[in-house]
Symmetry: C2
Subunit: 543 residues, 2 copies
Amino acid sequence: MLSWLQHYRRAMLPGDISAGIVVAMMMIPQGMAYALVAGLPPVAGIYASIVPPLLYALFGTSSTQSVGPMAITSLMVASALAPLALPGSALYGVLAAQLALLSGAVLLACGLLRIGFVANFFSRPVMSGFTIGSAILIAWGQVRPLLGGMPPAVHWPSAAMGLGALALLLWARSWMAGTLRRTGLSPVAADIGSKLAPMVVVIGATILVAAMGLDARGVATTGAVPAGLPGLNLATSSAHWQPLLQPALLVGFMVFLISMSGAQALALKRGEKLGSNRELVGLGAANIGSALSGGFPVTGSISRSAVNFAAGANSQLASIITAALLALALVAPTGWLALLPLPALAATIIVAVLGMLDLSLLHTAWRYDRADAAALLATAAGVLVLGVEAGVVVGVALSMGALIWRASRPHIAVLGRIAGSEHFRNVDRYSTETAPGLLMLRVDAGLFFGNVEAVNERIEDELKAHAGTRHLVLVLSAVNSIDTSALFGLGELNTSLSQRGVLLHLAEVKGPVMDRLKQSSLLQALNGRLFLSAAMAWDELAC
Amino acid sequence: MLSWLQHYRRAMLPGDISAGIVVAMMMIPQGMAYALVAGLPPVAGIYASIVPPLLYALFGTSSTQSVGPMAITSLMVASALAPLALPGSALYGVLAAQLALLSGAVLLACGLLRIGFVANFFSRPVMSGFTIGSAILIAWGQVRPLLGGMPPAVHWPSAAMGLGALALLLWARSWMAGTLRRTGLSPVAADIGSKLAPMVVVIGATILVAAMGLDARGVATTGAVPAGLPGLNLATSSAHWQPLLQPALLVGFMVFLISMSGAQALALKRGEKLGSNRELVGLGAANIGSALSGGFPVTGSISRSAVNFAAGANSQLASIITAALLALALVAPTGWLALLPLPALAATIIVAVLGMLDLSLLHTAWRYDRADAAALLATAAGVLVLGVEAGVVVGVALSMGALIWRASRPHIAVLGRIAGSEHFRNVDRYSTETAPGLLMLRVDAGLFFGNVEAVNERIEDELKAHAGTRHLVLVLSAVNSIDTSALFGLGELNTSLSQRGVLLHLAEVKGPVMDRLKQSSLLQALNGRLFLSAAMAWDELAC
């Protein structure tokens, strides 16, 4: 805990300070916008950006991770609470905090139980599909605030401001960094500068509202923001704990997945090592902290963390500085925040989630592995059609389904001997010799419940194709493990072959696999023999 | 379809006839008993034993499978319908048929979509745990009918009959085959004879009820059985379709799993090949047939199929004969069935499910792979604590969890050269030489989303442990596949190593893996080289 503090060097301070300031300026409009996505008052997004990063700095492992509100988790909050309370109501805020508390407890428990491997239940294509589907859902949800109404019933002053802000932000996204570079800024500084565009646009829009009295003309604004720091929120409504349990599991799972995928990309850049179980604890603590300070579920944001890193963050001190600045912003007069126009905030959300519409993985998968591309598209469709929570379940099901499907088609080669050598190769790929009555098969996959039937079926096929086989040699050089299901499968194969007068031999069993097999009765029951190498089996059995 | 009929030989007839008769005599008490487990009138169990095997004979692939009511699916019916209707009510019967219809439709759809691989979502230990948990639940549910009430409030005449029947059946189970053998019967005939004990006990108990007027003394009986064949049941209650959807998915999944595990064991004995997709179609048709003829979900019964096989069944004709005999039994006077005492039926159920309490897999797994044993016990506990439906979900989650957990701990060996040879081995197991600045790692698992992070983490650890590494060679001789997630993982590793001045090389890439990689940009982006063998990499890079 806080090991980064022990190794802190003064040289790291300037980077941490500049990153802290940059991320704070990015966080204010983003936190408020994501609070709106979650159906909460904008100030909740600021609350959720103060205590959580402090607790993450205490317990987490990534040095540059920026923990706070994030688009997808906010969408999940809105989806989970929609059937339970009215957005904007006091109950809604309490439930959002409770959802963070439960999600945090789930994360903390998983971390203490050391089951960080659950992050592996999502493949990357599925994660990409989930992100794309969520981004589209979020953007679609912002059309109404952007235009002040659904087309054709738009509110023109709101729409003008929203679309103007959108155009500005899109320009900033594509061209601002280049423009800044041409003024003499370094590429990194120019890139960071372009990331502050949302802050500039939101402040400009607020000034516009104040100067032109646009709020009186019907442009929706965030309304009065209570000044001061949030108090502890321990209100509980026991009737609502139970329906929150399942969403809390799903939110906790996604909080972990989203945070890890961002943190891992950065850790790889720094040659840093993340502890997935300590990450779980850090994120759990952050969410519990968010719950207790008027916030809602938080996670590590990929985009914000990348800016933090690029702006020079060397340690979690950068996040602590960000939190301190946000706390200061709440203590300072917040009256001006009341005039912040929702159409401009909607524009920042839409541009932010555009960054999540990354089709490069789809593009690669389409060429490399069509099944992965199909899983990506199906997950995105699942999110869009069934909603974000069902989308998580669809994603897990597709990841596991693809895994089991692939496993059920193991590669099995019939081996022959390269004449005059001790080498054995696939008879379909090489010119080899075989011996009558001897069938040698190499299974190119670990044996486990997912492929045991497929392997048995394939063996039956090969026995049919090689009538008169008296010796079946399974060459296990590529078999890294044999689970209990496969152990029974081999035992049944042995019995079945015995009845048909075929001897079953094993060759090239790997060390760890052999250690295991010695704990079973398979080796004693085996009707054939155990050979160290395929060549030895050939010498003994070929005639 | 009906391909077995084309190959039918007269020599197969006697076996089919004897098996047909034996299974019919086994089916009558068993079908009625499992109908009671499902909360249905006993005659529904006979109905469910007539049309389904006929349709299975038409569409299925196993020649000796006996399709009809089964203990676990009956338990699932009771569990699914409990919140929807009162057992014994007309609505309950309609819903049971609808559940069969939906399950059948699910199975049929899966068969036509050719996704028979879904059976691989359950590992054998998990299946064993599920069966054990279900058997205990079923036996526990029979305590009340066995004793005529829950202890201490038992109905003594009922309890005397129930416990007497139980003692007789337990004796028959353990000793009757031996006794019959001593009278000169062949071992097989003696074994089959002992399987007819339930029929004998049930008939005896019925005679006892009739002779002593036990029904008037409060011993519960099945009550009047409507004579005649069942009519088509097309009644629908649309309000109940929706809550039946999820149970139908779970029931369909278990119908397939239970049937396949039994059929596969028999197919292996006969050297027969099952088509899992055609099995899905056969079971789907059987369940739809059951729905349309007053039945409830059916599946292939392991114990009945084994008797069918042992009694000489050579083809599906045996099952057709069984169905014909059962239809005859319904056409014959059925008045005597009304006096069939429930305590005796409860005794047959308890003894039948005792056969499902097979602890041998637990025993083997405990020695061979403790994690598999834990999954078995956890699934059994899940069924007992959460119920049979949640138990299916727990089983899938545990199977997949174990898979992902194992995948997240891939075996990776640091390789050294056996001095003076071209062989490379694990430095921890063999005496080898290594070269400064050169790190060779062999990954003993296919690379996929489940282990990509673990592999990257392990590589970072080894790079830390081998400071000064300039060349990292990944020896992929045991890597049978690389999915899209792992492709991205390798790309990121390459980028990360480039930044640190380490070259990433690949060696011994398998043919099918290389074919795939050529479709990606990894090979062009690779900062190091591609070597055919580890020895070539050593010759080039060691200094």
